[in-house]
Point group: C2
Chain length 204, copies 2
Amino acid sequence: MLLCDIGNFSAKIYDNGKISHMSIEALNSYLPTQNIYYINVNSKFSPKSSKFIDIASCFEFDTAYKGLGIDRIAGCYTIENGVVVDAGSAITVDAMLENRHLGGFILPGISSYLKAYEEISPALKIPFNSQIDPNAIPQKTADAVTYGVVMPIILSIKDIAKNQKIFFTGGDGSFFAKFFDNAIFDKNLVFRGMLKAIKQKDLK
Amino acid sequence: MLLCDIGNFSAKIYDNGKISHMSIEALNSYLPTQNIYYINVNSKFSPKSSKFIDIASCFEFDTAYKGLGIDRIAGCYTIENGVVVDAGSAITVDAMLENRHLGGFILPGISSYLKAYEEISPALKIPFNSQIDPNAIPQKTADAVTYGVVMPIILSIKDIAKNQKIFFTGGDGSFFAKFFDNAIFDKNLVFRGMLKAIKQKDLK
């Protein structure tokens, strides 16, 4: 079974545990030979084949949140209790309690942060230092920027998670997971949610 | 005495307690009739008059930080103990202990954050809600974005400040100050530092 998670900048395709990436443009001209069950947050996605099947309506999700992205719903869909962090082009943070969604917030993704610094001043155009120690006060501009990206993200996730489990997914998920004792990294979290929704609806 | 603090996007002029703003372009063609003592972090600043006097060398500042911006030095220059937050186009956070600078970090400013969200997705183009309650988990996208801007900034300042006094300055300084019990807002903090440096060097 083929699944597709269409994000803000590209699409991820899941083929029985194997993940590949595709641009939105490539996806728009793609003519699959079997059904592709997808979720989509990108207005530029415009499939040319009836084999693309939108499964958004398959999710039965308990939340009071207005306008929650279908990717966030899918990421939370298999989580009973804890916090879900999807760290990609944006970083979404959602709290779950007894299969109910309590709310959540959105942070810019790492590359988005770095671009923001660069636009403030050429002096702040800094390559990201993934070896940063968030417990040391920075003593140079490069560290001051990396700390300014990483530390606020860590602290705001800690603040909402308290001692609960934190489920990380997305391209930068494993990077952030290492700063937390109670972290679980699952690169397939969104696809796992999609599979659950499909199974519930008994799609073929 | 005229002072001028030349930032990333514009300049602030201090005339005996009165503050006015000027674009870098306007400043570059400005021909003052009296001396203007300035600090500058903007490579586009190119004065046409010898009445512009760079006072960067007047600061004697104890720090191990490499490449600390002169605006951050000036902001810290009158602070013996505590944390200095200059919330403008960037938000700089610096820790002082017994007149010694311990280090600091840099966050994007509010408008920079909002632009970053907008570039991730049109769905995240959100007007800033200055009435946000940072203690409530957001229940809609507009709040999820505002919370994502404000909460990480608050938490990272709290984390470095612990129970020390926090001195806020800059365009968004008074907005952030209200989230802290131990906050002091001083819109003239940088100019106060400049005046101290000038006095020490006995410039006329």
